[in-house]
Symmetry: C2
Subunit: 357 residues, 2 copies
DNA sequence: TTGTAGGCGTTATCAA
DNA sequence: TTGATAACGCCTACAA
């Protein structure tokens, strides 16, 4: 097993100087060299199966062709399609992606960033912005192109690509309101997560617009898990005036609400309607299939990578500015089996099931 | 925004030669240098916030600290935990992982490998072995440490870390046999996938061991999707002697079987029991919750990375051998709601539901 | 205990 | 049109 051929090997075999070979290999400088010698060189390249050493090139050019993707946890089903979208876009441009999980631990996050910095990544895509995060703006200040995906960092200049959470909440609320619901409660995630905060405020705004109590109950789950969702939903359903609809902050919380309803002997959607958010895989196989808001996860990643690439490419121009503002992608409510008109009395136009109230 | 400090900067500031600084920075050579100067150098390192340039080091040492992870599609729910396991182990050792999706396209796979090779990755973990794959053995022959995860390449020397598919099938079959089933059918994936082939042969062996017809019907779905699973299961359930249990090749196929049963008006598990394989997220939220075989996905990745690291570390020793053979991790059947004794008549000891037969 | 020098494989500038 | 040269930042055998 012999050593990989280098530029020098090719040059020697072709009887030219390494510099000339390098020129032939680069489209931009290719026509500086005689067609004949170029052809000869290309033949040798073929023969020796030469392929440039990206590390050496990186040392010289200060570019690695590497982009870091920093996410909390790949195991969370929202991330795989996002990462896939990122990779799809980066791959087209000849970049590769380094993946890191931080479990939302600020320390691990800071550590990851510094490692990425050492590794000379050309840019960074992060899905980990926690409210008040230090390290991301700092990174950005160091001149590393960085874009956020799926989360944003309010009052920072870091560009972000996001789902339109507020509009999704509007669609959810309008949907259940349209079905006749009036007692609606939001089971949301912890508001230290910007996403959860945005959805919560979207809920409030939508309620207000619908002419309902903008101070409608909002219950905050401790974490974005089905267990915490169940706890929160149990609390919600135990209220004096039991809500007829739960608009959840994400599908996991909605799943928790399913369990809470089951434990209380309530039928979905007969007694209570439930709306999720995210449209994770398999929520259409829940019983009943979950009505939820579909987020274009793949596109989120794809567009984030796109923004980043633009930034990287333009970073050579001194006078170019980093991208401004956030990109908000449209979301879409998908009505399935977990929502229906509220139990009898209130909306007499449809089949009424047990109205325990 | 000033340039990052280099070894030379540190040396100058500390009034020593770069070589000395380098020595201080490496544990192995650290004690070759005077404690006093070392301390001084470390202070400067701190002050200048020096951090080594990994690219330059890589050029010099021929090591990048990068490992490529090549999978078919991150969006397939089995992979995220595997990738996470890989990353967890690699991270401990200071390695990072480059992720690529190939969609099981041999051309993209070959391409990915060649790109990884260019990028000088120290090793490779692949989950993409297709029967008769060319590029993996070739890669291995070039001396790149490579280990397979979740799939193996029979009759090649490439080490693999796998779930014990055959034993999983044994557990599945034993489970339904223990419940009293005799008419059992296997709905498996396409046998060009080594995993599907292994599970199929495991099914046959288990049937034989259970004293049942080892030539029991096996239906091969075109792809590992719920749609193809539904087709295959519909066929299975339409047979002259309708099976009372379907042992599926994976959870997606099992989900297809759920749909097929529903379409035929059959109750699960009243009329037909269904067993999955993989224990994907949320199958416990199916209706009924799916009985399936749990695979230690995270550990699969973790151990694969472990094997790879050992190999990389020992690759310096000329006389060291690449790891031999496959590592087979134990799997565990998780009994949930989709399995029960067969309909009346056959097993009179338990509640009998509609026995259409 | 520390300095010296050469080279890892490229690319970019300058000269011929 | 091509060659020579230096440099990117680091490591390491060898010399001092």
């Amino acid at each position: 097993m012999r050593r990989r051929a280098t530029l020098k090997d090719v040059a020697r075999a072709a009887g030219v100087h390494p510099g000339t070979v390098s020129r032939v290999l680069h489209p931009r400088t290719r026509d500086l060299v005689n067609d004949e010698t170029a052809a000869r060189i290309e033949r040798v390249v073929e023969e020796l199966d030469y392929t440039p050493n990206v590390v050496a090139r990186g040392l010289r050019t200060q570019r690695t062709g590497l982009v870091a993707t920093v996410i909390p946890d790949l195991t969370n089903p929202v991330f795989p399609p996002i990462v896939r979208g990122i990779e799809d876009r980066l791959g087209q441009a000849g970049y590769m992606t380094l993946l890191v999980n931080t479990d939302n631990d600020p320390e691990r996050e800071a550590n990851a960033f510094s490692i990425m910095h050492q590794r000379q990544v050309d840019g960074l895509i992060a899905a980990t912005a926690i409210r008040g995060d230090r390290s991301i703006p700092q990174m950005a200040a160091e001149g590393v192109p960085i874009v956020l995906v799926n989360r944003s960092l309010p009052r920072s200049k870091v560009p972000a690509v996001l789902p339109d959470d507020r509009d999704g909440m509007r669609q959810s609320v309008d949907h259940v309101v349209g079905l006749g619901h009036r007692q609606i409660v939001h089971v949301g995630g912890p508001t230290r997560l910007p996403t959860a905060a945005a959805r919560r405020s979207g809920f409030r705004a939508a309620m207000k617009r619908a002419g309902l109590d903008p101070d409608a109950p909002v219950i905050e789950a401790a974490e974005l898990t089905s267990a915490d969702g169940e706890r929160a939903a149990t609390e919600a359903l135990g209220a004096r005036r039991r809500p007829t609809a739960i608009v959840a902050g994400n599908d996991l919380l909605a799943l928790g609400a399913y369990r809470a309803a089951a434990a209380l002997g309530l039928d979905i959607p007969g007694d209570v309607s439930i709306v999720g958010f995210n449209d994770m895989p398999f929520v259409d196989s829940f019983q009943p299939p979950l009505t939820t808001v579909r987020i274009p996860h793949h596109e989120l990643g794809y567009r984030a990578a796109d923004v980043l690439l633009d930034w990287i490419d333009s970073a050579d121009d001194e006078r170019s500015e980093p991208p401004q503002g956030n990109l908000r992608l449209p979301v879409q409510l998908v009505a399935r089996g977990s929502t229906a008109p509220p139990p009898a009395k209130r909306s007499p136009r449809r089949k009424a099931r047990a109205a325990t109230n």
